[in-house]
Amino acid sequence: MYFPQKRITIYAGHYGSGKTNLAVNHALALRREGKRVKILDLDIVNPYFRTKDSEALFRREGIELIASEFAGTNVDIPAIPAAAQSAFDDREASVIIDVGGDDSGALALGRYQRAINDEGDFDMLLVVNRFRPLARTPEDAAEIARSIEGASRIRFTGVAANSNLGGETDAETILSSEEYTKSVSALLGLPVVYRAVREDLREALGNKLERIQPVKITGKIWF
């Protein structure tokens, strides 16, 4: 598996890039390796889609969810729970941090930058989807990455490629995104840590790409 193994993995990136889905998949994978896992929801920007949507799944799997008690309710307010501090104090646990979109979402992460940078045992992944309207060029994605680093005061360590067209994603969608992924990686001087691919498309890609990480789709599906 290509999910990073540092104690802390932070998922950040542009709006709707798929951070929450990758964070949930990563947490599940670590848990299945027997690790004690905490997932920290730091998204205080979008109250509609968040890690809390997978609460039942976490309970079943024995993953500790740290999220605002107001998350997903009708009084959803930009609050971070006090328990968030335990992600940094309890160094025996693996921690996945799901950050809100763009620099505005990353601001909340900045609250913990000292703990994260001082400990140093972390990866921060830039999640990119070239089909999202404001991240269509590698330059757009790089600009967003730099603004996130500015807001959070934490440096990215790698790229998680997640280009997809939702339900219409096929192997070609992913293959045609490779040039974009490589450009983002080159512009920022960051390695491509993995390429997220919906499980059922894994086989069709064979060995055409490196570091393919199969993922499930979690969270809300309305229709």
């Binding site: 709006y15 709707g16 109250p47 509609y48 889609f49 009708n74 959803d76 989807n129 089909f131 999202r132 309207p133 404001l134 269509r136 997809n164 067209l165 939702g166 339900g167 219409e168 309305w222 229709f223």
Partner: protein, 353 residues
């Protein structure tokens, strides 16, 4: 942007408005439409447009009134409680015969309500909503792709009939992401805005935008003229989509996001041998009455599905003059009906056939 992108409903509203020539957006944040304001804040400065976050919803709608008076394509957006605040301004825009586009991404109510999807502003949208005799054209998309095409239509219809147009969505449509294409916008042939207050250059008499008429006979005459225009809109612009209506004994009817859920229910009911069909109004005002009258020819009953306590159901009954029983299946407060709930209600009705 000719190829496919993965877009949220709220973002699609913004990008489509820009493609339709909207260069003035006056916003104020409220869940679940905030991404639209945020998108415009990022995009407008890059294309020479104006994004302005107003100090309130009331200020924003009055800025729209100002920009529209000058002949510009202007837009504002909000969600339910914020639309109530805009009510006065919308009435002034209607009373001034100005084109403008207003987006309502509905959430649960009444009052401050909740942030989850709802369709409980149907009355407000289709029956005027503010004070006085007036209507809005109300468009109800049911996918992110249709949000794009109806946003194009909204600006054209507003200019064509000199009246405000509302795009009525809900939290589901605003928040969900779907792959879409942004086609080139080819405008209808539209009348020149000879009424706009866009400087006389000393070459013509000045234009005045106004909704105040002290003499009642003058105000009545203007209202009569406006209603003659509304009659033309009712005649020409009503739109709907029918699905399996040809032999439908049970006509399920729903707009927006609930029409997608209802369509799933129709398919399931057909598999069970129940002749169900779906009538989806695309324009809520004008309401596609003739489509309902046509459907009533084969229908033994109608079933209205809404995320409200039952609002559109009244228009369905009026459209068919209560010639068939019209049943109701709905959730409220931000709860979303499931295909199963709709099927159960439909089967109960069909047992009596």
């Amino acid at each position: 942007m000719a190829d496919k992108v993965l877009v949220k409903g709220n973002e699609a509203l913004g990008e489509a408005a820009i493609a339709a020539g909207c260069r003035f957006f006056f916003g104020y944040p409220i869940t679940p439409q905030t991404e639209l304001s945020e998108y415009m804040a990022k995009r407008m400065p890059k294309i020479g447009g104006t994004f302005l976050q107003a100090e309130s919803e009331i200020a924003a709608i009055n800025m729209v009134l100002g920009a529209a008076s000058a002949g510009a394509r202007a837009m504002t957006s909000s969600s339910s409680p914020g639309i109530s605040l805009k009510g006065e301004g919308i009435s002034y825009i209607a009373g001034s015969d100005l084109p403008a586009v207003i987006v309502n991404i509905q959430r649960g109510g009444p009052g401050l309500g909740g942030i989850q999807p709802s369709q409980s502003d149907y009355f407000q949208a289709t029956k005027g909503g503010g004070h006085g005799d007036y209507h809005l054209i109300v468009l109800a998309p049911n996918s992110v792709q249709e949000i794009v095409s109806l946003t194009f239509d909204a600006f054209d219809l507003a200019d064509l009939y000199r009246m405000p147009v509302m795009i009525l969505g809900d939290g589901m449509l605003g928040q969900m992401m779907e792959p879409v294409v942004f086609p080139e916008h080819s405008e209808r042939v539209l009348p020149e805005k000879t009424w706009a207050t866009n400087t006389t250059k000393g070459l013509r008499k000045k234009n005045i935008i106004n909704s105040l008429y002290i003499k009642p006979d003058v105000l009545e005459k203007i209202n009569f003229e406006r209603y003659a225009r509304y009659a033309e809109v009712e005649k020409k612009e009503a739109r709907f989509e029918g699905y399996l209506l040809e032999d439908a004994e049970l006509v399920i009817t729903a707009y927006g996001a609930t029409s997608r859920i209802s369509r799933n229910a129709v398919n399931a009911l057909r598999e069970k041998g129940i002749k169900a069909g779906l009538l989806r109004p695309i324009t809520l005002w004008p309401f596609p009455k003739e489509a309902y009258q046509a459907a009533a020819k084969t229908a033994k009953a109608f079933l209205t599905v809404e995320m409200s306590m039952g609002q559109m159901i009244e228009d369905v009954r009026l459209a068919i003059d209560c010639a068939r029983p019209v049943h109701f299946c709905g959730r409220t407060g931000g709860m979303i009906p499931t295909p199963g709930e709709i099927e159960a209600k439909a089967e109960e009705i069909a047992r009596a056939f």
